[in-house]
Amino acid sequence: MNTVVTKPLTRADFASDQAVRWCPGCGDYAILAQTQKIFPELGLKRENFVVVSGIGCSSRFPYYMETYGFHSIHGRAAAIASGVKLANPELSVWVVTGDGDALSIGGNHTVHLLRRNLDINVVLFNNRIYGLTKGQYSPTSEKGKITKSSPYGSLDNPFNPPSFALGAHATFIARTIDRETHHMQEMLRRSYRHKGTSFLEVYQNCLIFNDGAFASLTNRDSKADRVLWLENGKPMVFGKEKNKGIHLNGNVPEIIELGSQWSLDDVLVHDETDFILASMLSNFTYQEDFPDPIGVFYAVNKPTYDDLMFQQIDEVLGREGKGDLEALLNAGETWTVE
């Protein structure tokens, strides 16, 4: 008898034959590379991956992945992915989206996907600008930003994606940066492993229309002071010398210098299951005084919509038996004409 030897999948197995058409140096390349790197190690067959996207630079992503892919219409990826998952819950469904796609035109679908908690992985490329339409402000652009459509400065308050997701009571919320490839891999793995909707924001540099948006978080000189690496169960310290920490004064967070006055015991310890803590951390973004949190903000387990839907169908089938079409058509008051 022949035994089928399946060769382990490699990164090359997930690269399609399509030429990648992002601008040279775009942060999207890094995300594509890390995704192609971690997909083979997840233990799934290639045919069971589905990548769904909307519209925008990020949404070209499915074309470059040798999986099943759907490049859909602006903002609707979350809704289309929901249909895919409910049609076949065995599939590993990934939504690749951007700040405009997920939070502006598709905000409604994103918020409801998170609320329902389908077992779908959302990767949101946040470059804080509209790239594909060539440089208008996005819902995550900082207030007052000068862009082509806001020559005198934008008037919108920005959305902070983790806060948005917390508002919907998402069950997994994380953030990474395009330049931090190992961290990104870890976040992608955690997203995959999370049962329920995972919401991963990736800070991604658009070097044509918003270059340097996250420079302070990636530059060698500044990043230690500007990034707060979140690790579950660990005190929240940062800085080149690891000498700064987040301290809670009553219910107000403040930054303390470790040394004579404060010790590590005074530093807040991260707990991924603490909703209030996650809310507080998410508010650090867009506040100059605080470092920007990177890592898993929040991760809890809740039943998924897809499991509940199939459970409900099974329960009804168990109670009522499999439906009979003839009986269905003949239900209710019937009469016979001879």
């Binding site: 399609s16 399509q18 067959k45 290639r46 045919e47 069971n48 991956f49 589905v50 769904v52 499915p62 074309y63 992945m65 040798e66 999986t67 099943y68 892919g69 759907f70 490049h71 859909s72 219409i73 609707r76 979350a78 809704a79 289309i80 992915a81 929901s82 249909g83 895919v84 998952k85 409910l86 049609a87 076949n88 065995e90 599939l91 409604n108 679908h109 918020v111 409801h112 839907m309 409900q312 169908i313 009804v316 089938l317 009522e320 038996g321 499999k322 439906g323 079409l325 003839e326 269905l328 058509l329 003949n330 239900a331 209710g332 008051e333 019937t334 009469w335 016979t336 004409v337 001879e338």
Partner: protein, 615 residues
């Protein structure tokens, strides 16, 4: 029975129950309909209710009505004008009196003709005291509320509860008047209120009181008897259009061997389709009540990609929201059924009223050259077959298909000959399982006959591929901006829809096969057109009737048929949409009968128009 009462045999009767939204008129009509169906009459019903759940009590806006036409003949419409009007309050009388047949019967609840209700209805004096009403009609003013109270007086029920049984009194009177038993209604009450035996008893008492009132009091001069209709042998049930759509979709999914996925958002008058399917979990039906219309159709497209029979239903405003996604469905060439239960438009329009004004929206309401097949059911029961056919064509040709139902079909009902499951046409679905070329899987390599592309669903090894809304290169499915390819794909998408015409059954014209005038209709005007054509037979002028089921593509034999008549009349509940399509396609100088009143066109309207045209 009083000795002075005579029994009159009639072939037809049209009864309209009208009252306040809270008076239970839809329920009363429904019970009378069930009773009529079981007695073997042919019937057609027309519910007519306000959009507000409870408009202010007693107001003109709050009047809800239900009309039933039943007959010993094969009939097609809910009747032009009622023979009997049941008016439970002054507002109902005010709204509906003008449509009552001259000399018709009016039965009113006199207790409701209070000063306040008269004022709300805009009556300056009580019309029941007016000689005109007694002169022009046969008026029966009965103290229904008082009699109901008397019948239930020893039961210890609140007066509010007792007052709500008065519709049963009216029903009892009508049962007596049309000489029929009330047992099925009592059985129904027992089932509906099985947890509230006191309500069964109260309603039963008042129903019987109504029947006995007719029997005992000598005020009614006539009872009517309608013979059974010569319906074709078979098992029947009463069927409305929304239920028929749901059943047709389940039947199609079962026949195709696919799970049914329904993604949608509640909207009047289509919500019952979602609600009905939500109860069919034993058939594995998945219903997803999405966050909006767009997510409804988008989730369905996702489910289609992954191999389910995907469906969404809505009404005109919902179709407007779904339009971009419909374009996507046709671009990625996935099967999808969209049911539009049309209502009065534009914008929010008349949510609970019927209209046929979304034909252009279905034909042209998308960006780009975006042809989608369109099928329109003709009667409530026919909605079953239209939904079934839509699913079959969607799966066979890998295309979205639009079903154009409407409010009248959705809520109207008729006796439905229950189909034999085995006699339904087969629906064959073959997922791609292997590569269709040496090297790659080619997602746009087409079937030569239907031009459909292969359906390779996620989870199938070796067929990984990408689809999307960007233009595709034919065969390979790669993104392509090539000018010649785009032109070719535009042609292919149009040709695919045209080819559906090759499998349509030859058209059948009723009445004159050529001659003076052809009535050309589509959708729910079927009954009015056919009844009008029947009335024109045997006259000097030759009139035929042809009803279109497929609006896109037009059947291959349509053009030839149109040339056989001197005139073509197109009655539509819109401003001439099919007319313009026919004019554009066949250069025929059509005449329209266009009544956009939120109500079905009546047979009489069609006959009058024919007389005007033929002189």
């Amino acid at each position: 029975m009083s000795e002075s009462t005579v029994i009159k045999h009639v072939t037809d009767a049209v009864i309209r129950f009208a009252g306040d939204s809270g008076d239970g008129m839809q329920l009363t009509g429904g019970r009378f309909t069930e009773n009529t169906a079981i007695l073997g009459h042919d019937l057609v019903t027309l519910p007519d209710y306000p959009a507000e759940i409870r408009a202010p009590a007693g107001s003109l806006a709050g009047v809800s009505a239900f009309q039933i036409h039943f007959s010993s003949n094969d009939i097609h419409t809910p009747g032009d004008e009622p023979d009997v009007l049941v008016a439970m309050n002054p507002a109902a009388l005010k709204v509906h009196l003008k449509e009552l047949h001259p000399g018709g019967i009016i039965i009113v609840n006199r207790n409701a003709f209070t000063k306040r209700n008269l004022h709300l209805a805009g009556y300056e004096s009580n019309p029941l005291d007016d000689d005109a009403l007694n002169r022009d009609y046969t008026l029966y003013a009965i103290d229904m509320s008082s009699i109901a109270a008397e019948a239930c007086k020893d039961m210890g029920l609140t007066s509010k509860v007792v007052e709500r049984t008065k519709n049963m009194f009216a029903l009892g009177v009508l049962f007596w008047m049309y000489d029929r038993p009330y047992d099925t209604t009592i059985k129904w009450l027992e089932k509906k209120f099985h947890k509230r035996p006191e309500l069964v008893e109260a309603n039963r008492r008042v129903l019987v009181a109504g029947f006995n009132y007719g029997d005992t009091y000598e005020i009614f001069t006539t009872r009517y008897k309608v013979a059974k209709a010569p319906l074709a042998p078979g098992n029947y049930r009463n069927m409305n259009g929304n239920l028929a759509v749901a059943l047709g979709l389940v039947a199609a999914a079962q026949k195709a061997g696919l799970p049914l996925f329904y993604g949608g958002y509640p909207i009047t008058p289509a919500s019952e389709i979602l609600q009905t399917l939500a109860g069919y979990k034993r058939f594995g039906v998945k219903t997803f009540q999405a966050e909006d219309e767009i997510a409804g159709v988008s989730s369905a497209i996702g489910a289609a990609f992954a191999g389910n029979l995907a469906v969404t239903a809505t009404s005109g405003p919902g179709v407007a929201l779904k339009s971009e996604a419909l374009g996507l469905a046709l671009m990625v060439e996935l099967p999808l059924v969209l049911v539009n239960v049309q209502r009065g438009g534009p914008s929010t329009g008349l949510p609970t009223k019927t209209e046929q004004s979304d034909l252009f929206q279905a034909m042209y309401g998308r960006n780009g050259e975006a042809p989608i097949p369109i099928v329109a059911p003709t009667t409530p029961g026919d909605c079953f077959y239209a939904a079934y056919e839509a699913a079959r064509i969607a799966l066979k040709y890998m295309t979205p298909v639009i079903v154009l139902s409407d409010g009248y079909l959705a809520n109207g009902s008729e006796p439905w000959s229950i189909p034999d499951v085995n006699a339904l046409s087969e629906i064959e679905v073959k997922f791609a399982t292997e590569k269709n070329s040496e090297e790659h899987f080619l997602p746009y390599l087409r079937n030569e006959e239907t031009l459909s592309r292969p359906w390779a669903i996620p989870g199938t090894p070796g067929l990984e591929h990408r689809i999307g809304g960007l233009e595709k290169e034919n065969v390979t499915g790669s993104v392509s901006y090539d000018p010649d390819n785009h032109h070719k794909m535009t042609e292919l998408r149009a040709e695919k829809v045209h080819r559906i015409a090759n499998e349509l059954a030859p058209l059948e014209v009723f009445g004159a096969q050529s001659g003076d005038l052809l009535i050309l209709g589509w959708g729910s005007t079927y009954g009015a057109c056919r009844a009008a054509a029947e009335r024109m037979q045997g006259k000097t002028q030759s009139v035929g009737h042809l009803h279109l089921r497929w609006l896109n593509p037009f059947p291959n034999d349509l053009g030839e048929i149109l040339t056989r008549y001197k005139q073509v009349l197109i009655p539509e509940i819109n401003y001439g949409q099919l007319s313009r399509m026919i004019r554009a396609e066949y250069l025929v100088d059509t005449r329209g009968l266009n009544m956009v009143r939120g109500r079905p066109i009546r047979a009489r309207d069609v006959v009058n128009k024919i007389s005007e045209l033929l002189g």
